[in-house]
């Protein structure tokens, strides 16, 4: 690679204006929650389910970004160095998700049928070996301890290399990334069982973990794209160009198809074998959530498939960011469809002020944490051997 004039990234400042905007968004979210609790008199399970759904989305964004970074680090990909700090900072929000989960803990009885140990039917009785509250809590603590450790340790190694560049930090980064992927492969599935699949405790699907993972990964990619495009626009990351967005767009395109593949695989087999205890999941969703059920597939598969097909679409920052925002909404809807029918039931759920307002609070919290962590380190890893290539590579 020939050396060109590569501009130095400007240190990022989490300004007051940004803080005020995020504060307003968080305020709207809180007001929506308060109105829902005190004025609308919504059923308690609907409020808990919303808190639960947003906490999940919060941790999914961090986890997906951490996973994307570790995969790229393990594969020694060079292109991602310029956007690496975005993924790092998103990953660091994982420990804070505990707060949001704990905020929803009082509603566990409303959310999970299997927590009512006093009257369980035979089927749930047989599942108590795995689905019991102490073991569930233990797993919860284990997941967060594990993910937080990796997020913080990897970030530490990455920042250390900024100040005293040594091969051993990069080697540790690579090796630890590999270990994270090993643990994440298992915990992403089991966490999806614990937190989402066990809402419909009688029902099970063997690829549910993958299905949730694919949605998580696409949502995180969408957020990375939006942030990268915005940072490019505001000159915070001057070396991010259409090539990086092109690659991110390819990921978004490809993994939207991957999501659709898993969605169909789950649906097709259950539809085909037609066993009542399995079909109940889809009967509930097609009968009572019919429109949303099909909108989900259109927004998350058909739309990105057609919108991101051409090369030009992936290289146009504004266009790509708009597609990413729509896909992010789509995966929020996907999560809604995974939680609400089981936890709340169709009689009590609708999309109202709570569903639209509350995410703003979590989004503002996520972005505030993200900006705080992004501000703490250099916007692009310094002294990284791949930096020049990441700033001057070209897609074929």
């Amino acid at each position: 690679m020939e050396k060109q004039n590569i501009p130095e990234p400007v240190p990022f400042k989490f300004g007051n204006k940004l803080k005020i905007y995020l504060g307003i968004a968080a305020g709207i979210g809180l007001i929506a929650l308060l109105i829902a609790v005190f004025f609308q008199q919504l059923p308690s399970e609907r409020i808990w389910a919303n808190l639960w759904m947003n906490a999940l989305m919060f941790v999914f964004l961090g986890l997906g970004a951490l996973f994307f970074w570790t995969v790229n680090t393990l594969g020694e990909s060079t292109w991602q160095i310029n956007i690496q700090r975005i993924m790092e900072s998103m990953g660091l929000t994982i420990p804070f998700a505990i707060i949001f989960f704990i905020a929803a803990f009082p509603g566990l009885k409303d959310l999970f049928e299997w927590t009512h140990t006093e009257h369980l039917d035979d089927l749930l009785q047989k599942k108590t070996g795995y689905l019991n509250l102490p073991f569930w809590m233990l797993r919860f603590a284990f997941y967060f301890a594990l993910w937080s450790f990796f997020a913080i340790y990897l970030r530490k190694m990455s920042v250390k290399n900024d100040f005293e560049p040594q091969e051993k930090y990069l080697a540790r980064l690579r090796a630890t990334s590999g270990w994270f992927i090993v643990f994440f492969a298992i915990t992403s599935s089991t966490a999806a069982w614990d937190w989402l699949m066990s809402i419909d405790a009688h029902w099970f699907s063997t690829l549910y973990g993958w299905y949730i993972f694919s949605g998580m990964f696409v949502s995180a990619l969408a957020v990375i794209i939006i942030i990268a495009a915005a940072f490019k626009h505001f000159g915070i990351l001057p070396n991010v160009n259409s090539e990086h967005l092109h690659d991110l767009g390819k990921y978004l395109f490809g993994f939207s198809i991957f999501w659709a593949y898993l969605w169909l695989s789950q649906f097709l087999l259950i539809w085909y074998s037609n066993i009542p205890e399995e079909t109940i999941y889809f009967v509930e969703r097609t009968k009572n959530f019919g429109t949303l059920f099909y909108v989900n597939v259109i927004v998350n598969f058909l739309f990105p498939f057609l919108a991101l097909m051409t090369r030009g679409a992936k290289r146009q920052p504004l266009y790509l960011a708009i597609v990413a925002i729509i896909v992010l909404f789509g995966h929020y809807l996907d999560l809604y469809l995974a939680i609400m029918p089981g936890a709340v039931g169709h009689e009590n759920t609708s999309i109202g002020l709570l569903e639209i307002g509350l995410p703003l609070f979590y989004l503002a919290a996520f972005m505030a944490l993200f900006f705080t962590f992004f501000e703490k380190a250099k916007p692009v890893p310094a002294n990284h051997p791949y930096f020049i290539e990441s700033s001057s590579y070209e897609n074929i």
Partner: protein
């Protein structure tokens, strides 16, 4: 077809610089032959974008819709079979085959279109000007008929750009 002049390079960076230099001198480059794909060569040669993706999309669309329509015809009109009490027109079960046919049509159309467009295919006798290009040399080919310069001037331009083994042949293609 007239005389052509070619020169060799042993390094891809030298090749890229030479191509840029020749382009700056407004010399038309007939072809560049390399032992492996060189990053940035397409842009240096100012080639327009390939139309292959459009062919792939069109063929995929044809394959997918043909596959879906054929299955719909077979299972409702041609030879309706009752599978486990499912309706005859069961779109979910048609999706895998539709998907496979989309991929099959797109892949074959791209392969065939590429061979046609590049003048390749079974039975084609390769037109190799110099055996070194099959090993480790990068070859830049200039055709006299495309340029206003004489063969000698073209050879000089190639040598000025750093080419070795500059030769002149009267080629048939």
């Amino acid at each position: 077809m007239g005389a052509i002049v070619y020169g060799h390079f042993t390094d891809e960076l030298d090749l890229l610089n030479a191509v840029k230099e020749l382009k700056n001198k407004k010399i038309h480059i007939a072809d560049v032959r390399t032992p492996f794909p060189v990053h940035g060569l397409d842009t240096a040669l100012k080639y327009p974008r390939s139309h292959l993706p459009k062919i792939a999309f069109a063929a995929g669309l044809i394959g997918g819709s043909l596959g879906l329509l054929f299955q719909i015809w077979v299972f409702t009109k041609g030879w309706p079979l009752n599978f486990g009490g499912k309706p005859y027109l069961s779109i979910p079960s048609f999706i895998p085959v539709t998907f496979e046919l989309t991929v099959l049509f797109a892949a074959f159309a791209m392969g065939i279109a590429f061979l046609l467009r590049s003048n390749l295919g079974p039975g084609k006798i390769p037109n190799i000007l110099d055996d070194d290009v099959t090993n480790d040399h990068f070859q830049v080919i200039l055709a006299a008929k495309n340029n206003n310069l004489s063969e000698i001037e073209l050879a000089e331009a190639l040598e000025a750009a750093g080419a070795i083994d500059v030769k002149q042949v009267n080629a048939t293609t």
